[in-house]
Symmetry: C2
Subunit: 146 residues, 2 copies
DNA sequence: GTAGATGCAAATGTTTTGCAACTAG
DNA sequence: CTAGTTGCAAAACATTTGCATCTAC
């Protein structure tokens, strides 16, 4: 796990503590490799440790966001979290049929971002844009049965 | 009101009915000119007609979305609705400091959409994309006081 | 020992649903 | 008339909070 020592240090700097629950949540975030909901993280942990509470998951995710270790995106009325250290800067394609999230490298969006800046002085975030649409499979499925 | 007759026709085609509640919600959507939450629409109506229920607002908004007369975007954990007939196809720039939504013509995004289709077979929605970032004013304000 | 963290239960806020009563066509 | 619609109340979600208990340090 690449960032546990960073976590520990960040906690200590603030007078906060490394608990087994926090370790477990960080480990799960590594395992899941992105786009997990709080509920999904919680379920994985409860399987082994039934006493874990979902409020602890939320509190830890909030903490990790504050420490800039976890990013959060808001799709389809729910939040999904991912460890920032696992992937480079990227955006998301959100399939509004199957709910799948695809990653797109940040650079693919660069021309658009420059265009918008020129057009209206708007400085688009260089990461975590969510583009809704249809993924390839769902697009075909819809085309076949209209 | 430009689209009431279209609404009536679409309803009749499906054996559905035009009720005073549906008329009222459509009228409010015209008045509000975009980006209203269900709660905001509900409040406006309750002021004159206290018996209206918010579930009727949700049901009508869902219906209008199904009829492609209303679009829905998901920003900052809440949904906002707008009448599609009021503006041409467009996307949104969402300033995450002041919360303002700016409209961008759909054509400005066309090159990106084609690029994504080529890259991963993803068919991005031609409308209602939300791009978070900083509007010109907030960008300057932030630059001055870091 | 003690500030900080946890688990529990209950509150929150938003959206959805079941259902009996009502009404547009 | 009657299928569709409404208002109401309650459920369903996702998320947050208050608090007594517990624990990392």
């Amino acid at each position: 796990m690449c960032c546990e020592s960073r976590f520990l240090e960040a906690l200590h700097d603030r007078g906060l503590r490394l608990t087994p629950q926090r370790e477990r949540i960080l480990a799960i975030l590594h395992e899941m490799d992105g786009h997990a909901t709080a509920e999904q993280i919680y379920e994985r942990i409860v399987a082994q440790n039934p006493s874990m509470d979902i409020s602890t998951v939320y509190r830890t995710l909030e903490l990790l966001q504050m420490l800039q270790m976890v990013g959060c995106i808001d799709v389809g009325g729910q939040r999904r979290y991912e460890l920032l250290s696992l992937h480079g800067a990227h955006h998301h394609l959100y399939c509004r049929i199957c709910g799948q999230l695809l990653r797109v490298e940040a650079q693919e969006m660069q021309p658009l971002i420059e265009h918008l800046a020129q057009l209206s002085g708007f400085e688009a975030d260089p990461e975590h844009l969510i583009i809704p649409g249809l993924c390839e499979e769902c697009r075909h499925r819809v085309a076949v049965s209209p």
